[in-house]
């Protein structure tokens, strides 16, 4: 199998890697870079647990070949925190109790990050539509939506 050299920026850090053509970005993040915050749920693009941001947009890392991430800037849940300060989304999720088992949380927060990237003051409808690809099997949606709306208020210039 012919490995492919790629260069990616993950949470601001540059990585040069030789990946196999079938390797997904999700597997590279988890198994090579040990960034296990991003979760593998269904592996088929149905649950949203593997959501990360590429160039500020939400994408599914389970359906993204690592070779296709070459040259891109990737933000995962591990990159949200600024030094010792949690991101407003993380603060708001804790404050609103928007976490139950926690498995969907990294994907939820990264989908939320993309919503806040693209909307200055998102309405509840915009938040719900933006989360429509992320499943929470504990069904804690109400508090998650509340947390994102709260984070929008908490954030200064992002």
């Amino acid at each position: 199998m012919a490995k492919v050299d790629i260069k990616i920026w993950v949470n601001g850090e540059e990585f040069g890697l030789a990946v196999e053509p079938h390797e997904t970005l999700l597997d590279v993040l988890r198994n090579r870079l040990f960034l296990t915050g991003t979760k593998k749920g269904c592996g088929k693009g149905e649950c949203g647990a593997c959501t990360v941001n590429i160039d500020g947009k939400s994408i599914l890392s389970c359906l993204t070949l690592a070779v296709k991430a070459d040259g891109k800037e990737i933000l995962t849940i591990e990159g949200l925190q600024n030094g010792n300060n949690l991101h407003p989304l993380q603060e708001a999720f804790i404050e609103q109790g928007a976490i139950q088992c926690g498995f969907c949380t990294p994907g939820m927060i990264m989908a939320a990050k993309a919503i806040l990237n693209h909307h200055l003051n998102p309405s509840e409808a915009v938040v719900r539509t933006g989360l429509s690809g992320n499943l929470c099997r504990c069904t804690g949606y109400e508090s998650i939506v509340r947390a994102i709306l709260k984070a929008n208020k908490l954030r200064g210039v992002d």
Binding site: P21, K57, L60, L63, L65, V67, K68, S132, G133
Partner: protein, 294 residues
């Protein structure tokens, strides 16, 4: 991925010539990747090479005096957010884009991929069919233009031959008085749900007369289909409620759905009539609003 999807080689050609050359060399052992949202779900085991269209500069939406050109790797979210598709009747494509999948998948999936995967239920396909879209297909030996209605051959089968790839789509110019509507029936469980039935309709008018009607249905045959009988009875007529009922009835007659996990064939047929009727009524509403505004 733990399946047997183990392509050995990955190529990122720099131009269309290089891409078609690769396709002609590897034939059926190669697969094109754009967004990857279908390929990585399917995980075809027989694939030896992946050809990535990323560097071909095929992500564009251009409006000019002949119509709209869309690059094959334009993502579904770019179509949704483009002002070009806010106008009638082109908004039918935006309506279809908004009904598709989830925000993250729409950031990845492309218009060309949605068509070339040739799902009988593809949302963009029916919208593109009623807009009489032409496809620009490039092969190693040249380029051809094909009406989208002739593109689909069977479930997941298109008329592309081994060394060909879809490069761009061309939607002809319409007047602001042309109206269109897209409707999708799905289980409202998750937003990734595939259509039980989807319908797109376009009506073009000259004064009070409907000069041309287009009705396309998805998920009720092996490919997305035009409902020619219904289109014919509407063309050249002044549209009224009885004619709409008749067209909806003919559409249901002409559809040939199957029973599957999403719905039964008989339910689908009934829903075809309901959706065609509603889509035609939406068009007439749009037409009335346009008349009032001029």
């Amino acid at each position: 991925m733990d399946g047997f999807f183990r392509p050995n080689r990955y190529y990122r050609p720099k131009n269309i010539r290089e891409a078609t050359q690769l396709l002609s060399t590897f034939g059926e052992r190669a697969r094109i990747i754009a967004g990857g949202t279908d390929l990585l779900v399917e995980e075809p085991s027989e694939i030896d090479s992946i050809i990535d269209l990323e560097n071909l500069n095929l992500s564009f939406i251009r409006k000019n005096k002949e119509g709209i050109d869309i690059g094959a790797t334009t993502t579904i979210n770019l179509i949704d957010s483009s002002p070009v598709f806010s106008m009638s009747p082109y908004h039918v494509l935006k309506e279809a884009a908004q009904e598709m999948a989830t925000p993250a998948i729409r950031n990845m999936g492309t218009i060309g991929g949605n068509i070339c995967n040739a799902s009988p239920a593809a949302d963009l396909s029916v919208a593109l069919m009623v807009l009489d879209t032409n496809l620009k297909i490039s092969g190693f030996n040249g380029t051809r233009i094909l009406p989208i209605g002739d593109f689909f051959k069977d479930v997941n089968k298109t008329s592309l031959i081994d060394d060909e790839l879809l490069v761009a789509l061309h939607i002809p110019l319409y007047s602001g008085s042309d109206v269109a509507s897209f409707l999708k029936l799905k289980h409202h469980q998750t937003s990734i749900d595939i259509a039980i039935v989807n319908v797109a309709v376009r009506l073009s008018f000259s004064e009070k007369i409907c000069e041309e009607a287009r009705i396309a249905l998805g998920a009720v045959a092996k490919t997305p289909i035009h409902i020619k009988k219904a289109e014919t009875i509407l063309g050249g007529m002044e549209i009224n409620a009885a004619l709409i009922e008749n067209a909806a009835y003919l559409a249901a007659q002409e559809s040939s759905p199957i029973d599957d996990v999403r719905a039964s064939a008989s339910y689908r047929k009934k829903m075809v009539a309901v959706l065609v009727k509603r889509a035609l009524e939406n068009c007439m509403k749009g037409r009335d609003e346009w008349l009032k505004s001029t």
